[in-house]
């Protein structure tokens, strides 16, 4: 470690100072809270995953048995993993693509941008509970506005119980989270765009660069670190999505919206067994998967992170 630190220091001049007191002072509060309230529960969760944990009984060591069941036998879990992965892979891309378009519109100084910024942000201001209820209504077969609009334009046969059919339930929920988070991503992207050096853009303007070219060669590369951050946030958020599903479908119909988080919750609280070991094993596996996902995502997108401007 000493070596690594030394190498890092020499490769990045100006960051070489190591005032031990200051470092300790800066880190201590966060680390104390972290170790007291986060690390211990997490370590305990990992530990529990190798046991059968019942109250009023000594824990029974089962080795990798929970993991074996999960990986090879538990079809509910496999279904949940599939759904969650679909969600976590589609959402970041769609959300951020829309957010980017919106941010560009505001960046181009359309009139009333302050109003748009607030209006587009409203979805995320509402809690998942309310969002869940509202969208259950919007998707209601009889009087929901989604079917209402389809019927209004004569597409009656497209009208359906959106959350009630296995083929449409998951896409509908992905649609809702996209609606919810596009505005938030837009605001952060917009801020990043405003921090771009205006000389570069003006130069591009003089060179008679097209709009698309400017976007592709200047704007996107420059806000790339922000995009990466948002992608990771969105990915992680979807990998643990719970509330929205719980309010709207509880994982149904036919497990088509079951996510890993809802399944963990069911196993821990709803399955009428008090065993905590198995849900802990799910949590641990998922922890590894998400961490791996984040690292891959970072690796893919960070290659050109070290931009100088």
């Amino acid at each position: 470690m000493e070596h690594t630190a030394g190498r890092l220091t020499s490769s990045e001049p100006g960051l070489g100072l190591r005032p031990v007191g200051a470092i300790a002072g800066f880190l201590a509060p966060a680390l104390i809270i972290y170790f007291a309230f986060t690390a211990y529960p997490v370590v305990r969760t990992i530990w529990n995953s190798f046991f059968q944990v019942f109250p009023n009984r000594p824990d029974e060591f089962v080795g990798w048995a929970n993991y074996a069941t999960l990986l090879f036998e538990d079809r509910f879990f496999h279904r949940a993993v599939g759904n969650t992965l679909v969600w976590a892979l589609i959402s970041p891309v769609v959300e951020i693509a829309i957010a980017l378009l919106l941010a560009l519109a505001l960046y181009a100084r359309v009139p009333g941008s302050r109003f748009f910024r607030l209006a587009w942000f409203t979805p995320v201001l509402m809690s998942y509970v309310v969002v869940g209820i509202i969208w259950t209504w919007i998707f209601n077969f009889d009087w929901g506005i989604a079917n209402g609009m389809l019927r209004a334009v004569g597409l009656d046969h497209w009208a359906q119980a959106w959350l009630g059919h296995p083929d449409t339930a998951l896409p509908s929920l992905i649609f809702v989270t996209t609606w919810m988070w596009a505005g938030f991503n837009m605001v952060v992207l917009l801020a990043a765009m405003h921090s771009l050096p205006s000389e570069v853009l003006e130069a591009a303007e003089l060179d008679n660069c097209g709009w698309m070219a400017k976007l592709r060669y200047i704007v996107i590369p420059l806000v790339r670190p922000t995009i990466l951050n948002l992608m990771v946030l969105s990915f992680v958020g979807k990998m643990r999505v719970f509330d929205l599903v719980w309010i709207t479908t509880r994982g149904g119909p036919l497990w088509s919206t079951e996510t890993v988080s809802t399944y963990v919750y069911k196993r821990a609280f709803n399955w009428n067994t008090f065993d905590l070991g198995y849900p802990c094993a799910i949590a641990t596996i998922w922890f590894v998967v998400v961490l791996g996902g984040v690292l891959i995502l970072t690796g893919l997108l960070r290659s050109r992170d070290k931009l100088e401007y």
């Binding site: 100006g14 800066f26 309230f37 969760t45 917009l190 643990r240």
Partner: protein, 277 residues
């Protein structure tokens, strides 16, 4: 910046597209806002109608009978404290990870970051035991600490990547001027990082303001409960009292909007001020 606006076809299309998206994005919110002034009976009869009588008294009813006054106060105390603590200690840690080299730096950062994803539904059981052991169960302090711990990894993650991109010249200059390490953090890092700080403040405020699971499990006394529990009151098993639910939501949403409006200005301004160029 010379993007001029000409009223040609392309812009016409843009305006229509933006208007449509705005209706789509804000429509549900406006719908809830209109429902907050209508009674549940009216809403059930005609879900999409505009209010014909404005039932402003519903706000008073929610505030007093629904105990929203108490919940609101608790939420303000808990979320405000949690976000303040989070912002300060998260920024300190992020600054440290980004600007100093020390043993186990990467390891510690990775450790903090990795817990970003543990499902709260599981860890809450151990957290509960800890709070009981520390005598913090069923206290607002306990809830604040749980919230800080919960959002800390993501806060550090957002801030660290921002701090890491601040040019070193700024720091070198400050050191030349004889700034202490604390002053450097307080007077260079924090102001420059205003946009990133705003992002975390907005994100943390929104998420914690609406947080439900910890709030219901870690607090049992009604007079210590927070707003999401108050909202729960109107979506009971008997009947979802959507009229009152909407009213409650509008009460709950005001502080978040204020935080958003204020900090999103900071976010944009901070960026345009061109602190990092």
């Amino acid at each position: 910046m010379t993007t001029s606006i000409r009223f040609d076809l392309k812009h016409g299309f843009l305006v229509v597209a933006l208007a449509l998206y705005t209706a789509f994005a804000a429509g549900p919110f406006l719908w809830v806002a209109s429902m907050s002034l209508r009674t549940t009976t009216e809403i059930s009869a005609e879900p999409y109608a505009l209010p014909d009588t404005l039932h402003f008294s519903k706000f008073a009813i929610a505030w007093t009978d629904g105990n929203y006054g108490t919940y609101f106060g608790n939420s303000v105390i808990v979320v405000l404290s949690a976000v303040a603590v989070l912002t300060v200690i998260g920024a300190m840690a992020a600054h440290c990870f980004a600007r100093y080299r020390f043993p186990f730096r990467r390891f510690l950062y990775f450790l903090v970051f990795s817990t970003i994803i543990f499902p709260p539904q599981i860890t809450i059981i151990a957290l509960f035991q800890i709070l009981v052991e520390y005598g913090l169960f069923n206290t607002r302090t306990g809830l604040v600490l749980a919230y800080v711990a919960f959002q800390l990894p993501i806060t550090v993650y957002i801030l660290e990547s921002f701090f890491a991109r601040i040019p070193s010249d700024l720091y070198d200059a400050a050191r030349m001027d004889g700034y202490s390490e604390w002053e450097i953090f307080w007077r260079i890092s924090l102001p420059v990082a205003m946009p990133a700080l705003s992002t975390t403040v907005i994100l943390n405020t929104i998420l914690l303001w609406n947080e439900f699971l910890y709030a219901v499990v870690l607090i049992t006394d009604d007079d210590k409960r927070t707003l999401p529990l108050g909202i729960q009151k109107y979506m009971g098993d008997q009947l979802i009292d959507i009229g009152m639910l909407a009213t409650g939501l509008m009460i709950a949403i005001v502080p978040v909007v204020i935080v958003y409006v204020f900090f999103s200005e900071k976010l944009i301004q901070g960026m345009t001020a061109g602190a990092i160029k």
